[in-house]
């Protein structure tokens, strides 16, 4: 499987091509890494009430935002998230 060449995080460009992977894992199907992520995301909410889930989602966004760090990238993501509806 070929991994798309993305601009490295921090270069001020929001990555919008498929970018999920896990170190040490070999993929034979291109949908697998994204599906691995999505399953983990939904599993994170197992047995939570809707209110608890909302709070967990907010914490998750904050953790990921700090990890990304580049505020220009975050602003771009916020814009696209708001516009997609």
């Amino acid at each position: 499987m070929t991994t798309p060449q993305n601009t490295p995080a921090g270069a001020g460009q929001l990555i919008l091509t498929p970018n999920f992977r896990e170190a040490g894992k070999r993929y034979f199907r291109d949908f697998t890494p994204g599906d691995d992520f999505y399953e983990a995301l939904i599993d994170m909410h197992r047995d939570l009430s809707d209110e608890q889930s909302e709070r967990v989602n907010a914490r998750l966004i904050l953790l990921l935002a700090n990890h990304i760090g580049d505020i220009a990238v975050l602003r771009e993501a916020m814009r696209l998230a708001r516009d997609a509806g």
């Binding site: 498929p18 291109d30 599906d35 999505y38 909410h45 696209l80 997609a84």
Partner: protein
Amino acid sequence: MGAYVSPTYPYRSPEDLRSSPPQRRPLIVVGAGPVGLAAAIDARQHGLDVLLFDDDKTVSVGSRAVCYAKRALEVLDRLGVGEAPCAKGVSWNVGRTFVEEEEVYQFNLVPEPGHKRPGMINLQQYYLEEMMIARALELGADVRWQHKVISVQPQDGFTRLTVETPDGSFDIEADWLIVADGARSPIRRQLGLDIEGRIFMDRFLIADVIMKADFPAERWFWFDPPFHPGQSVLLHKQSDNVWRIDFQLGWDADPEEEKKPEKIIPRVKAMLGDAREFELEWASIYTFQCRRMKDFRHGRILFVGDAAHQVSPFGARGANSGFQDTDDLLWKLALVMKGQAPERLLDTYSADRTYAADENLMNSTRSTDFITPKSRTSRTFRNAVLDLARHHPFARKLVNSGRLSVPSFLVGSALNTPDTDAFAGDMVPGAPMDDAPVQAGGQDGWLLDQLGNRFQCLLFVDPATGVSDAQRTALAELSNGPIPVSPLLVCPAPLAAGDLPVLVDTQGLVARRYDARPGTTYLARPDQHVAARWRALDAAAVRAAVARATCNA
């Protein structure tokens, strides 16, 4: 247009099977669905006597399993029954996913040329069964209709069965028993064997309609279409102008009510959106489970197909994985029955196919969770993926309307010999082998048609230097071993190699897909999986890999 008329297979009195004490047969298969038939055909190709019992006298009622994947077609090719279903079925590679009316995601199951079989064919199950029954009979399988196995008693080294027929019941014994009696598996239940997993709280309606339509031969999947708001719909083309439409109904739907034509016909009309005429051929309301048996082998009883594992239908991983079960099982069973391998080789059937079943369960469960979210948060994320998928490629990849059946890479199989040389690409030990165009005997053909039913040693050769004396000696020694390994040379140009068979890699695709150069050697299992590979041929290494792949090490 016109509805299918199912054949009736003749019942024969079991007089010749009845005796006291009961007869002992080497191999009995229970269930003449596609997977039981594949087992019987494969057994005959391995020269095994096989008796096949089925409690009915005809093929499946309704179209049932419709999508047969590339790997299943390759297995059917190896079983000598690949042409007819491909000729009758509808080939397709492209799937489209729509949200409301907008296309958000598209996949192509075979994105590159140079494979004999397409990603999928759609064919009503009854047609495939008819073709497979003809093949089983042609090979001399002893198929007995209206023979219902009502009791199975494991004994020391064999199994006793009680069989009910219109002429009364009788006992018979089998050295080996293959159970292919379907999802409800009366034999599994009678033996009290566990099958564990999840039930999904949703109901679906299948409507097979006969109509003239010029929709392309593609899989179309809608989330929340205007003609069936809030639910999903799937459209597939089958042969004879039959179209499969699958409507998600929700858990609260009343199955008895929804089954009525007066309820179904308006749903179909709303979908077609015009006054076109159609006829309802078959309808069924279903729910499903995702579960498997803990072990597919219980002594001398081997479970295959739906009897061993069940998945949601999104992904066509039911019948297709059943074919891969018997593909894995029969060569192993043949070696054990012929005394060429120890019984524990059959434990690797269970280990490898439960691994594959887990992969199928995982993928079909993920699809089901995406299609029918179980909580408000899950639905919110699903809808957010669909929103973003309209604009962004990363989100398109997350849209999961079914990950269609592809074979497992059995990378953890105990039968693999780990690589000692460096290779690129996916043809790792345990990989299902990739097809490629070749010329054999001056004729255009396909690599996979040259593989299977025995161990084979593929040696890639440089046309300028040909086969060395040492290589020739090694290949001769391997073909005379206790478990013979047939030689097969692969060369980019025609080559005179005496009695050694040569495949011409006309487009260089074999070498490319297997990352091969002159000297590269692959050991292929009888089920077209890679057992081992090296950069140079060494008879001792190949012998050791054969021993490992047959539990003789």
